[in-house]
């Protein structure tokens, strides 16, 4: 049923159809509309016997789900930014215990300075936690990925994050084809846990593991992600059979055949990028783009296969590894090792900074004609940066502020620098 609906409400609708049994939530912008809508649905009795717990923190929220999931319940929560970092310890723990929790990340920057707008710093900070990370390009895909996420999580017994851009998607009204309960029931079987707390068959979950076995446990987590690389495309195909639309998968290509330059990005900016590709193609530039759906596990093999004939990959990423550069581009470089392909890093959209189509087009042309510095920051205000660097330099001088001012204007009698 096609409906003009807000992204958050569409996601809440999809989650409700997945029949979660326990949800624990703590509010934080821009995730709030999702949990508000779900709390209403639970209280109105629209989601079976679902328990909705209002908790004291994000750490508490995910901890509740750890207990509920270990008891065999299908569980869900949503968070973002500072909230995700506050629950970080539990994020790692849920993955280590192999609990198939599904969590929406309404991607948002991390402070300081405090900033509530979209970038991907938050989920990137949890990159190595052992969660599968799927990125939605638009609200239709956000809906579809959530339904796939529950099945993926439960097939592998591994937690899954569905990442959607805060505000850009969560608060956007678009036409979304909302699935029916019959479709979701046909796709998603009831949750059958691989290990559960049961008085009839007691097990100890979460035992202490020493050096003699810890590496093996970690390898098994890695192996689970390698299997996810096969399961994700299969579940995407099954989804298409039932819902009659293509959604999910490891990555999605756009005009990559015969492309010399390929742009690659996560999330909603792929809409802008596809428009830029269209414009560049009209001007005769052989460009294409790839929207990465799965960031963890990283689809190295699939990516290599798609881009092997290209000359240049430009990774546009909404995150920054401070002191290094790009996070996604590092993964891309590693995936393409040995191929004669240039990989450029473009850091863009931090803290909600718009990524205009014109800037993308200019950057592609600059990369192809002159090359880019590594990493390249899109649309930086260099006046502001240089001004602040100068001010910081001035502060390092010894003496009082007044003395420094006198020195700067060259007043007679001021002490030498």
């Amino acid at each position: 049923m096609k409906q003009h609906i807000e992204g958050s409400q569409a996601v809440a609708h999809a989650v409700a159809l997945c029949r979660p049994e326990v949800m624990a939530c703590y509010p934080i912008s821009p995730q709030t509309h999702i949990v508000e809508t779900l709390s209403l649905k639970v209280k109105a009795g629209e989601i079976g016997n679902c328990q909705f717990l209002n908790v004291e923190s994000e750490f508490g929220a995910l901890s509740v789900l750890i207990g509920a999931s270990a008891m065999g319940a299908r569980t869900y929560t949503a968070t973002t930014s500072q909230g995700l970092l506050f629950m970080a310890e539990a994020v790692y723990n849920a993955a280590g215990l192999g609990l198939p929790i599904v969590m929406t990340i309404a991607n948002r920057a991390i402070g300081a300075p405090i900033n509530i707008w979209n970038d991907h710093s938050d989920s990137m900070a949890m990159r190595d936690a052992g969660w599968i990370q799927l990125f939605a390009e638009d609200n239709q895909e956000a809906v579809d990925l959530h339904i796939q996420a529950f099945r993926l999580a439960e097939e592998l017994s591994c937690p899954v994050m569905v990442c959607m851009d805060g505000y850009i998607l969560t608060h956007a009204y678009e036409v979304v084809d909302l699935p029916t309960q019959e479709q979701v029931d046909a796709y998603l079987p009831p949750f059958e846990p691989v290990q559960v707390l049961d008085p009839q068959d007691p097990v100890s979950i979460g035992a202490m593991v020493g050096p003699e076995a810890f590496a093996e446990v970690r390898y098994l987590a890695h192996d689970k992600h390698l299997r996810a690389l096969e399961v994700i495309p299969r579940l995407s195909q099954t989804f298409q059979d039932i819902f009659q639309r293509r959604s999910g998968g490891l990555l999605k290509t756009y005009h990559t055949d015969e492309a010399e330059t390929i742009l690659l990005a996560l999330g909603s900016v792929n809409g802008t990028i596809k428009d830029a590709v269209d414009d560049l193609r009209k001007e005769g530039w052989p460009v294409g783009s790839i929207a990465l759906r799965a960031f963890r596990p990283f689809p190295s093999h699939a990516l290599r296969h798609v881009v092997e004939d290209a000359k240049r990959i430009i990774v546009i990423e909404k995150d920054l590894a401070v002191g290094k550069g790009g996070i996604v581009s590092s993964d891309v470089k590693m995936a393409l090792q040995g191929l004669p392909i240039i990989v450029d890093t473009v850091i863009a959209g931090l803290g909600g900074r718009p990524i205009p189509q014109a800037s993308v087009i200019d950057t592609v042309k600059q990369a192809c004609l002159e090359g880019l510095e590594e990493p390249h920051f899109l649309d930086l205000n260099w006046d502001a940066i240089n001004g602040e660097l100068t001010r910081q330099q001035a502060q390092r001088r010894s003496g009082s502020t007044a003395e420094n001012i006198l020195r700067e204007i060259g007043a007679p009698g001021a002490s030498p620098i």
Partner: protein, 331 residues
């Protein structure tokens, strides 16, 4: 649920559980065919109060629930000594997640049981004082606030023992720990600070709060059993001496625990809905010095004699006796 025939090493005392009484009055531990939540062979230190308290508490829960129970454990001594992979001393479904989230994890277990309509299975959470009073305090308060159907048991050995004896929010005044050394003008843990978690639990207005001690295991079992007859959030704070951290003789664990109770420093009481409803009277009051001098962590109060500190601690004990009316004649 597996059963292990219990090995009795002691006979006929408080410890074994009143086997001379009528069968109906006997404790869980007095039965030769009792269930065993925590198997022998775990790696707790000799004389560990926590191992003793946990086994009695959980066995009482097992009996009260007809073995239909799940235990959630915080990180700490109890978790570490009982669960080194590939062994586990637990005979019950047992889940350890993190140091600071046992109350929330237990809330999740309870919520899953509600969602599945399982009213027969009950959940308890347990942790040491560090997990309870300090790092897990927020989650515990949230669990109390929602009145989730969880019994939380705190085993209070008054410091972070698992990491090698550092101060917690439950460390008593003047006690030596590795982060409150007995040096300088203010030796040991500072006076006049600390957290009284049973009273904070009472302030949440939850159905049941109690304190218990491994010095009176019959009373401990009775309180756990009573707690399991109630639905909603319940809290039991059990005083468990730690020979390692307290620098006391492992053979004196029960004796030290009893002196804490009989001096008034660890009052035994029950509270329902935020009001004290019952207390265990002190039969023979002892001075705090008799309690403190058995423990190396207070040695600096005696050599040389720190009269001011001893008087201040005695005043704390007397205030407890007064507040909880522990000596009937003074009531």
């Amino acid at each position: 649920m597996s059963y292990q025939r219990v090995k009795f090493y002691q006979t006929g005392t408080f410890t074994v559980g009143n086997r001379l009484l009528d069968e109906s009055d006997r404790t869980v531990q007095a039965g030769m065919d009792r269930t065993n939540s925590l198997n022998s062979g775990h790696r707790a230190c000799q004389g560990c109060g926590e191992a003793l308290g946990a086994r009695y508490a959980l066995d009482a829960v097992m009996r009260a629930t007809h073995q239909q129970m799940v235990a959630v454990n915080a990180t700490g001594c109890l978790e570490v000594f009982s669960s080194p992979y590939p062994e586990s001393a637990w005979q019950i479904p047992w889940l350890h997640s993190l140091f600071g989230n046992a109350p929330a994890v237990a809330s999740g277990v309870a919520a899953a049981l509600r969602a599945k309509g399982r009213t027969d299975i009950r959940v308890i959470a347990q942790g040491g004082d560090g997990a309870t009073v300090d790092i897990g305090f927020g989650c515990l308060s949230g669990m109390f606030e929602r009145n989730d159907d969880v019994l939380y048991v705190c085993y209070d050995n008054e410091a972070y023992m698992n990491t090698g004896v550092q101060r917690s929010g439950s460390t008593p005044p003047r006690a030596w720990t590795n982060t409150t050394q007995a040096v300088g003008t203010d030796p040991g843990n500072p006076m006049g600070i600390g957290k009284n978690l049973p009273r904070i639990a009472m302030a949440h207005g939850i159905p049941y709060v109690a304190t218990a001690s491994v010095a009176d295991l019959h009373d401990l079992e009775a309180k756990v059993t009573k707690a399991m007859s109630i639905r909603g959030a319940r809290y039991i704070h059990i005083h468990v001496p730690c020979p390692l951290g307290w620098k006391s003789d492992p053979a004196h664990t029960i004796k030290v625990a009893r002196l804490a109770v009989e001096s008034g420093l660890f009052p035994l009481f029950e509270a329902e809905g935020g009001e004290v409803t019952d207390r265990t009277p002190i039969r023979k009051k002892v001075s705090v010095e008799q309690y403190l001098e058995l423990q190396g962590r207070f040695r600096h109060l005696f050599h040389p004699r720190d009269k001011g500190a001893l008087e201040a601690i005695q005043a704390m004990a007397d205030a407890n006796i007064d507040r909880y009316q522990l000596i009937p004649s003074e009531a």
